[in-house]
């Protein structure tokens, strides 16, 4: 711990050096100058002369003020260097700011070519933390002895001394392994797909397996770098086995279930499943198949449902997007009075369903007489739709259209009627 104090005190001492102060003062002055300047120039909103010829300029336009600041920082640092020969720190800070700026440009470019969500995640979870941590450590290394800080012992674990650097590697190394391996794994899976002509589900499973493999190997490497005692790892592994037998059983089971589902292709992102709920069965779209659970989207109330993978593994599930196709068959039940000929009603129902845009023309809508009920004959109009998630909406449209068609054709939709006959003889006897 003393070494950490020494490293930070050294850092603090360095900030009291006149030559360091000068460099920072110049940078602060530049920032002070930049504020009014960006207000005057208004580069982000003004029309740029070459914007029409080079449309890509519009993409980087939101970074105009930051680019201006970077240019000012570089100019000032170079000027200081020319005047005094002491501007290494200022140049470093200006260059680091330039790297950050470049990363923004890279993200803007990637947004144009890759899926938005993928780039956003890579940016937020990997690039920004990486630049932040890297930047802080680099600034520290410029001013103080980073190796001293990294080697500073923190605590002892099973006879093994854990240094500040070990802790950093354990924390950030594992974080970046978990967060930053998605893209490389995807790239490797893409190569594998090209090599072995993999199908969609197998491709996704391969990507996930490659990712798990990278994470696993990375963890082993980190532990080896930290120098964790193998006996300790064995002891922890033993404890984990017991844990798997009790508390972690479900976690492990969900993990394996997820892998199996991916390999099998039974549940894939984009699939529509029927999930039982209090309102009956709701169609839900699979958004993501995770390590422990699957995320589903229910459009009825825009809810994301997190369902443990094990559920899909052990229970039967209805899907609209399985092997055959994604089409869904819907139906609307309706009653018509007994006096209307069934052929007329069925023809009207089929014709009406065909007027609904989201109802498929092929296969044709089919009208059926289902049964003779107490007050009415019950008919069904059955039709096919393309998107299984549209079931409720299309049913509503068909229902409204049928009501209007019946109204126009003077077909009665009877409400339940009950005729009560009073027996007058029994009534008279009774009164005696």
């Amino acid at each position: 711990m003393n070494s950490i104090v020494l490293a930070f005190d050294d850092l603090f001492s360095d900030f009291s050096r006149p030559a360091v102060l000068w460099q920072l003062l110049v940078l602060l002055l530049v920032i002070g100058l930049w504020f009014p300047l960006k207000g005057v120039l208004r580069l982000e909103v003004k029309f740029w002369p070459l914007e029409r010829q080079f449309p890509w300029l519009g993409l980087v336009k939101p970074l105009a003020n930051e680019t201006l600041l970077w240019l000012l920082l570089i100019l000032a640092s170079r000027g200081l260097d020319a005047l005094t020969g002491v501007a290494g720190l200022a140049l470093f800070l200006a260059r680091f700011y330039g790297i950050c700026l470049l990363s923004r440009v890279l993200i803007v470019v990637l947004y144009q070519h890759l899926p938005l969500e993928l780039v956003r995640r890579a940016d937020l979870r990997v690039l920004r933390p990486l630049l932040t941590i890297g930047g802080l450590l680099s600034i520290f290394a410029q001013l103080s002895d980073l190796s001293l800080l990294m080697q500073a012992p923190l605590f002892s674990l099973g006879g093994q001394v854990i240094s500040f650097g070990d802790l950093m590697l354990l924390l950030f190394g594992t974080y970046f392994l978990a967060a930053g391996t998605a893209l490389p794994a995807l790239a490797l899976a893409w190569i594998t797909r090209r090599l072995f002509n993999l199908e969609g589900p197998a491709y996704r499973a391969t990507a996930l397996l490659i990712r798990y493999m990278i994470v696993g190997l990375g963890l082993v490497y980190i532990l080896a770098q930290v120098g964790v005692n193998p006996t300790l790892v064995a002891a922890v592994g033993g404890g984990l086995s017991v844990g798997l037998g009790f508390g972690l059983k479900e976690v492990f089971s969900n993990f394996i279930s997820g892998l199996w589902l991916l390999l099998e292709g039974a549940v894939r992102p984009g699939d529509v499943l029927l999930l039982e709920s209090v309102n009956g069965e709701d169609p839900c779209e699979v958004l993501e198949l995770g390590m422990r659970a699957t995320t589903l989207w229910r459009d009825r109330d825009n809810v994301e449902l997190v369902v443990p993978n094990q559920t899909f593994f052990t229970q039967s599930m209805s899907t609209y997007s399985g092997i055959r196709d994604r089409r869904r068959r819907g139906q609307v039940l309706i009653g018509a009075a007994y006096r209307h000929p069934p052929e007329q009603v069925i023809a009207l129902l089929e014709a009406t369903a065909q007027t609904i845009p989201r109802v498929l023309a092929d296969p044709k809508p089919k009208g059926l007489l289902l049964r003779y009920d107490d007050s009415a004959i019950t008919y069904a109009i059955r039709y096919w739709i393309e998107n299984p998630m549209d079931g409720v909406g299309v049913a509503s449209e068909v229902g409204i259209a049928v009501w209007n068609a019946f109204e126009q054709a003077a077909i009665e939709i009877p409400f339940p009627q009950r005729v009560v006959h009073l027996d007058s003889e029994h009534q008279g006897l009774g009164s005696d």
Partner: protein, 416 residues
């Protein structure tokens, strides 16, 4: 969580705030008043290490320095010394890198005393000492490190040159250079440092002086005699010239040589290798004079980019290391160096090696900073000529006038 907060706060449209962070820290750092305990009490010390020093000698030097730092921190609570060691060939680069960032070390501990280039590059600044503080140093040592009245450095130790030999194989060391040739002829393996600085003791034996006092003529005859002796020595199969000290030190340690010219810096490793068989003596004198090797100093220099507070702390560390108690303890502990504090009375009878080193220091030649610079400038071209003579490529008569011309050209004040 912290990562997420940091990421959000520092990213990106407010990225300039991150640039302000060092500024705020520096404001805090600059406001540390002199003598205040707590943060900002760390000074950095850069220790130069010889390129080819034997590991044991290196360790001995490092350990000694670490112990001194611990002692200093004990008596100066709150103050901390950040120690960094750099090899001689990497010193210039390390200083240039740090100076370009304004992070020059507060204190340098150098192997030699070639301070003028460091001053001209703006790496070091002079130090002012009170009369009382000056008493910690031998006056000649202070004078040696002055330039135009400015004290550019302060000595820590004196490292004279000696003769080291294997007592078991050579009971009696040579007293003169002629003895040295004779021993070589008799089959005793002699090792000599062929570097220009390492041969100066031989040159002085012939009455030669690279830097003659004002008004004195340059001794041309001594130069020819010296070069002729080198040629003669190399004709002896058992006299070997080597290009670096490490070879000599290792050669004596593993029995390859029986006698070598050595520096007191090598003594820890030689003691370990030879034990009681290690013999030490003054270097053999020449036909005209006793050997007068150039005296080497371990020198402190003060970084030019320190704050006043850091400079004062660096001064305190140097003065602490030069006080009577510390210098005496170090000298007795190492047993291979002579302290620079004149007030120390060393038990020379109990420590005969220190007595010998003391004698060697008194017979050594001191170069002031200007002479040291001229000597360094002369070294490379002079070495070429000397190598040609030693190797037999050119006769001494050819090389002597050329070497003389070089020496005179390097010293504007020398009478021609």
């Amino acid at each position: 969580m912290v990562l997420a907060i940091l990421t959000r706060v520092m990213w990106f449209r407010r990225g300039w705030i991150a640039l302000l962070l060092p500024g705020l820290l520096s404001a805090c750092g600059a406001s540390v008043p002199s003598g205040m305990d707590g943060f900002g009490q760390t000074i950095s010390l850069l220790v130069e290490e010889e390129n080819l020093a034997a590991p044991l000698n290196r360790i001995a030097s490092r350990e000694m320095m670490k112990e001194q730092i611990i002692e200093f921190e004990r008596y100066h609570p709150g103050t901390q010394v950040q120690l960094e060691v750099v090899r001689s060939d990497g010193l210039g680069q390390a200083l240039q890198y740090r100076a370009s960032r304004g992070l020059e070390p507060d204190l340098l501990l150098l192997v030699g005393n070639d301070l003028l280039p460091l001053k001209s590059k703006g790496y070091i600044k002079p130090v002012r000492l009170s009369e009382q503080e000056r008493l910690n140093f031998r006056p000649e040592g202070l004078l040696q490190l002055q330039n135009h009245g400015e004290q550019l450095g302060l000595p820590l130790f004196l490292y004279p040159r000696l003769a080291c030999y294997n007592k078991q194989l050579m009971p009696e060391p040579p007293k003169t250079q002629a003895d040295l040739i004779r021993l070589g002829q008799q089959g005793h393996a002699i090792g000599l440092d062929s570097s220009f600085p390492g041969l100066q003791w031989l040159y002085s034996g012939f009455g030669g002086n690279l830097f003659p006092p004002q008004g004195e003529r340059f001794n041309s005859g001594a130069l020819l005699d010296f070069l002729s002796w080198l040629r003669l020595a190399n004709l002896q199969p058992d006299i070997t010239f080597v290009t670096n000290g490490t070879e000599l030190s290792q050669g004596l340690g593993d029995g390859h040589f029986q006698w070598v010219s050595c520096s007191t810096r090598w003594l820890p490793s030689l003691r370990k290798a030879l034990g009681s068989r290690l013999g030490l003596s003054l270097l053999p004198g020449g036909p005209k004079e006793a050997a007068q090797p150039i005296l080497h100093l371990r020198t402190w220099a003060f970084g030019a980019q320190s704050s006043n507070h850091q400079h004062q702390l660096a001064r305190q560390l140097v003065l602490f290391n030069s006080n009577v108690v510390q210098q005496r303890n170090m000298a007795l502990k190492l047993g291979t160096v002579l302290p620079v504090n004149p007030a120390i009375a060393l038990p020379l009878k109990a420590y005969p090696i220190l007595g010998l080193i003391d004698e060697a220091v008194r017979s050594s030649r001191r170069l002031n900073l200007a002479q040291e610079r001229q000597f360094q400038a002369l070294e490379a071209p002079a070495q070429t000529l000397i190598d040609q003579v030693i190797s037999g490529g050119r006769p001494p008569e050819w090389a002597a006038p050329k070497l003389e011309a070089l020496i005179k050209a390097a010293q504007p004040g020398v009478q021609r």
